[in-house]
C-alpha cells in the first residue's frame, strides 16, 4: 500500500473531506504507536503465561509398570503417566516421563490419547505395560475419552472436533474403536446403523462419545447425541449397529460384573447446570444418584465392584482424583492431588 499525497490533494474536489498531510502523519504515527503498545501487551501476557505454567513432576527412579496388579494408573495435571498403590493412593507415586492427555489400561494394554501440541496432531497410542508403543492411530480433534476392554483387546477413544465457524459453536465428536486382535479399525462410529426407539434412524447430527466395553469384547455401551438428546446406546461391533436404550445418559462406564452403568446425568435434565454422577442398574432400570453433589464431567472408572473414581478440576486447570461409593451412600473422598484419568490395574 503506497501513499499518494499529491494526487490526493490535486484531484479531490472536496478539500474539507481530504486529510491534511500532517493529519495523515499523525494518524500513521498513532497507529504505529498503538500497534507497538498492543504488541507489547500481547507479548508481555504470553511471557507471563509461559512462566506461570505448571512444571512437570520429577521422574522417579521407580519405573512405571501398567501390568495387572494392585495399582492405580493416573496422569498428572501435565499428563505424565504415574501409578500409586491402590490400597494407599497417598503413598509413593511412580512417575514416568511418558505423557498422555487421557489414558486407560487393562490386562496389559495401555491406551494413551495424546495431542502433540494444542493444534498439532493427535495420536491414539496403544502401549505395552512398560510404555513401549505397539500401535499409533492418527486422530483429529481434542482428546476427550479413552477406554480399554477388560481383556485388553478392544480400545476406544473420543476426540472433540471444532465447528466450522467459531460463531456457530457446532461442535462434533469422533469416536473410534480398534480391535487389537484382528486389527479392525473404525475411526468413526458414524457409519454404524442406528436403531432409535425400535426404528432405523439416520441424521446428519449423530455424534458418539464415551464407549465402555462388555466382557464379550463385542458388545459396548456409549453415548449417542442427536437433536438435543443424549442416549445411552448398546452397540454390536461385529454387526456395526447400535440401538438406543434410554435418554439423558452420558459417558457410561460399565461395572466389572457388567450389571451397572455409572454415568453423568444432567442436573434436573439440563446439562448446562452440570452433571450428577449416577449409577444405572441395567436389570431394573433404577437410577441411583451418588453422594457426590458437585458437578462431575468425567467418564468415571470403577476401582472395584462398588467404588467409582473420577477427576475434579480446579480453576487453575489442575485436577484432583476423588472416589465415591456407587450405591449412593457414604461421601466423596479425595484420593490423590494432581491426578486424573484413573484406571484400576487389578
Amino acid at each position: 500500500m503506497t501513499t499518494q499525497p499529491t494526487v490526493a490533494a490535486e484531484s479531490d474536489p472536496n478539500p474539507s473531506a481530504a486529510p491534511r498531510p500532517s493529519g495523515r502523519t499523525a494518524r500513521i504515527a498513532t497507529t504505529a504507536a498503538a500497534a507497538l503498545a498492543l504488541a507489547a501487551v500481547a507479548i508481555g501476557y504470553a511471557r507471563h503465561s509461559s512462566s506461570a505454567q505448571a512444571p512437570d513432576t520429577a521422574v522417579t527412579a521407580e519405573t512405571v509398570s501398567l501390568a495387572p496388579g494392585p495399582r492405580l494408573l493416573t496422569l498428572t495435571s501435565t499428563g505424565q503417566v504415574t501409578t500409586v498403590g491402590k490400597a494407599d493412593p497417598g503413598g509413593a507415586r511412580a512417575v514416568s516421563p511418558t505423557k498422555c492427555d487421557r489414558a486407560y489400561a487393562a490386562a496389559g494394554t495401555v491406551a494413551c490419547l495424546y495431542a502433540d501440541g494444542a493444534l498439532g496432531t493427535v495420536t491414539m497410542r496403544v502401549l505395552s505395560p512398560d510404555l513401549k508403543e505397539r500401535k499409533a492411530i492418527p486422530v483429529s480433534g481434542v482428546p476427550n475419552r479413552v477406554r480399554v476392554s477388560a481383556s485388553g483387546r478392544m480400545v476406544s477413544w473420543t476426540s472433540f472436533v471444532g465447528g466450522d465457524s467459531y460463531a456457530t459453536l457446532n461442535f462434533a465428536t469422533r469416536t473410534g474403536i480398534y480391535d487389537s486382535r484382528t486389527g479392525t479399525l473404525f475411526k468413526t462410529l458414524e457409519t454404524f446403523s442406528v436403531v432409535k426407539d425400535g426404528k432405523p434412524y439416520q441424521a446428519s447430527d449423530v455424534n458418539y462419545w464415551g464407549v465402555t466395553f462388555t466382557g464379550d469384547d463385542n458388545t459396548f455401551y456409549a453415548t449417542l447425541y442427536t437433536k438435543g438428546h443424549r442416549y445411552l446406546v448398546q452397540g454390536d461391533f461385529a454387526a456395526r449397529t447400535v440401538r438406543t436404550l434410554r435418554d439423558r445418559v452420558e459417558c457410561p462406564s460399565l461395572s466389572p460384573d457388567g450389571t451397572m452403568i455409572a454415568f453423568k446425568a444432567p442436573v434436573e435434565g439440563d446439562s448446562t447446570r452440570g452433571w450428577r454422577l449416577s449409577v444405572l442398574d441395567l436389570k431394573t432400570g433404577r437410577v441411583t444418584e451418588t453422594a457426590e453433589t458437585r458437578s462431575v464431567d468425567d467418564q468415571a472408572a470403577w476401582l472395584d465392584g462398588s467404588t467409582l473414581a473420577y477427576a475434579q478440576q480446579h480453576d487453575d486447570g489442575t485436577k484432583d482424583l476423588w472416589s465415591v461409593p456407587a450405591d449412593g451412600f457414604g461421601k466423596p473422598r479425595l484420593l490423590l492431588r494432581n491426578a486424573h484419568s484413573p484406571a484400576a490395574l487389578g
Binding site: T30, Q53, L169, R174
Partner: protein, 425 residues
C-alpha cells in the same frame, strides 16, 4: 494507505490506458484498502479464536462435548433483526462508519469477555452472541462504505480486493494462534489476549483511516422508516432480494460440504480442518481476478457461474470420482463459488439501491440471504435424516438449478444493473 481520492472516474479516465493494471488496483480506492485492512485484522483475530475455542473449552475449562451446540437458531434470528436495525440506523444518522465501528468494537471486546467469564456456560453463550451480533451489525455498513468508496465500474473488483484481504486474515489467524501457543507454552488465555490486541488495532485503523463516505452526499433529510419499507416497492430491489433468497436457499453450508467430503474419503479425517483452509486459499486467490472479470463481462453471469460451480460441488459429492482428485476439485469449485458470489452479489446490489438507503438495502438483502440459508440448512438436515446423505445432496443439487434459472430470469432478462456498470466502463 490513503488512496481514496485518486479513484475518481474522472482521474481514471484521464490516466493512460497503458497503465491499466496499476490503474485497476488504484481504481478500487484507498477507503476500500483501509476497510480491507480492518477486515484482515478482524479476521486474524476471529480465526485465532476459532482455531483454539474447542480446545480451550474442553481442556482449558473442562467442558463437555456438545454442551453449547444448542444456542444456534435463536441467535441467528436475533442477529437478523439487529442487522436490519443497524442498517437503518446507519442510513438514518448517515454514518455507516460509526455503526460498523460499534460492530467491530463489540467483537473485539468479546475476546476479552471470553477470558473474563470463566467457565460459566450461560456467560460464554452470551459473549459468543455479542461477538456474532457485532459481526451482524458491521457487515452491511461496511459493504455500503465499499459501494460508496469505489467507482461503479470497478465495484466488483473493489469487493474482490476487500474479500481477498478478509480471507487472507482468515488464513493467517490459525497460524498466528499456533505461534502464540508455541511462544506462551500452550497458554490459551494468551491467544485470547493477542486476539483482542489484533482486533483493537483493527478498530483503530477503522477510526483513523476509513472515511465515512466517498462523496459528500446531497444534504437530504434523514430517511424515514416508511422510506426504508418503501425500498421493497422498488421492482429492481425486490427482484434482487428474491434472487438473493433463492440463491441463499440453494446453499447447504460449508459444514455439510466438508462432512460429506469426509464421509466419502476416510483418509481426510485427520486433515479435516484443512478442507476449510483449502477453500479459503482458493477464494483468496480468485477474489480479485473474478471481481475484475465481473466488472468486465457483467456481474450477473459471474454470480450465476458461481452457483453453477456450487452445483458442481454437489454433483461431485454424489459422483463416483474418489481420492485426492475429488477433494481437490471440490475445494477449487467451492472456493470459486465464494469468489464469484459473495462480493459480486454486493457489487450487484450497490448501484440498485438509493445512496441514502444503501446500508438498509444491503442489510435487507444480506438478511434475506442468511435466513434462506438457515432454512436451507435445516431442511438439508431433515432430508439427511429422512432419506440419507446421498439423496439429500441430490435434493440440494436439484434446488440449485431452478434457483439459478429463476435468478437469470429475474436479473438478466429484465436487466436493472447492467446499465449502471456500463455507463462508466
Amino acid at each position: 494507505m490513503y488512496l481514496s481520492s485518486i479513484d475518481r472516474p474522472g482521474t481514471d479516465a484521464a490516466s493512460p490506458a497503458g497503465r491499466s493494471r496499476l490503474r485497476g488496483i488504484k481504481a478500487v480506492g484507498g477507503n476500500v484498502f483501509a476497510l480491507g485492512t480492518v477486515s484482515l485484522l478482524t479476521d486474524v483475530s476471529a480465526e485465532m479464536v476459532t482455531a483454539i475455542l474447542p480446545v480451550y473449552l474442553v481442556f482449558g475449562l473442562s467442558m463437555s462435548p456438545l454442551a453449547y451446540g444448542t444456542l444456534d437458531g435463536v441467535h441467528t434470528g436475533a442477529t437478523a433483526l439487529l442487522r436490519l436495525v443497524g442498517g437503518y440506523v446507519a442510513d438514518r444518522v448517515r454514518r455507516p462508519k460509526a455503526v460498523a465501528g460499534v460492530g467491530y468494537a463489540m467483537s473485539a471486546l468479546a475476546k476479552l469477555g471470553l477470558l473474563a467469564v470463566g467457565r460459566s456456560a450461560g456467560a460464554i453463550g452470551f459473549v459468543i452472541a455479542a461477538d456474532r451480533a457485532g459481526k451482524g451489525l458491521r457487515t452491511a455498513p461496511r459493504d455500503a462504505l465499499i459501494t460508496l468508496s469505489a467507482p461503479p465500474h470497478a465495484l466488483a473488483r473493489a469487493f474482490g480486493v476487500h474479500r481477498a484481504m478478509d480471507s487472507f486474515g482468515a488464513f493467517l489467524g490459525p497460524l498466528v494462534a499456533l505461534a502464540v501457543l508455541a511462544a506462551s507454552g500452550q497458554a490459551f488465555d494468551a491467544v485470547l489476549v493477542t486476539s483482542f490486541c489484533v482486533a483493537a488495532l483493527g478498530v483503530l485503523v477503522l477510526v483513523l483511516f476509513v472515511r465515512d463516505r466517498h462523496d459528500e452526499r446531497p444534504p437530504a433529510a434523514a430517511p424515514s422508516p416508511r422510506e426504508a419499507v418503501a425500498l421493497l416497492r422498488s421492482a429492481p430491489v425486490r427482484r434482487l432480494l428474491v434472487a438473493a433468497c433463492l440463491l441463499g436457499f440453494a446453499v447447504i453450508g460449508d459444514g455439510f460440504v466438508y462432512l460429506l467430503l469426509q464421509r466419502r474419503e476416510e483418509v481426510s479425517l485427520s486433515s479435516f480442518p484443512l478442507l476449510a483452509v483449502g477453500t479459503s486459499l482458493v477464494y483468496l486467490l480468485l477474489a480479485v481476478p473474478i471481481g475484475a472479470l465481473a466488472d468486465r463481462i457483467g456481474r450477473v453471469p459471474v454470480v450465476l457461474g458461481g452457483y453453477t460451480a456450487l452445483l458442481g460441488v454437489y454433483l461431485l459429492l454424489t459422483a463416483s470420482l474418489r481420492g485426492w482428485p475429488l477433494v481437490a476439485l471440490v475445494l477449487v469449485l467451492h472456493g470459486l463459488f465464494y469468489a464469484a458470489t459473495d462480493g459480486v452479489l454486493m457489487a450487484l446490489a450497490g448501484p440498485v439501491l438509493p445512496e441514502h438507503l444503501r446500508t438498509t438495502g444491503l442489510a435487507l438483502i444480506q438478511t434475506g440471504q442468511a435466513l434462506a440459508y438457515l432454512a436451507s440448512s435445516v431442511l438439508f438436515g431433515l432430508a439427511w435424516q429422512l432419506w440419507g446423505p446421498d439423496t439429500a445432496v441430490r435434493c440440494a443439487a436439484a434446488m440449485v438449478v431452478p434457483a439459478v434459472a429463476a435468478t437469470a430470469l429475474l436479473l438478466l432478462v429484465r436487466p436493472t444493473t447492467r446499465s449502471h456498470t456500463e455507463e462508466t466502463a
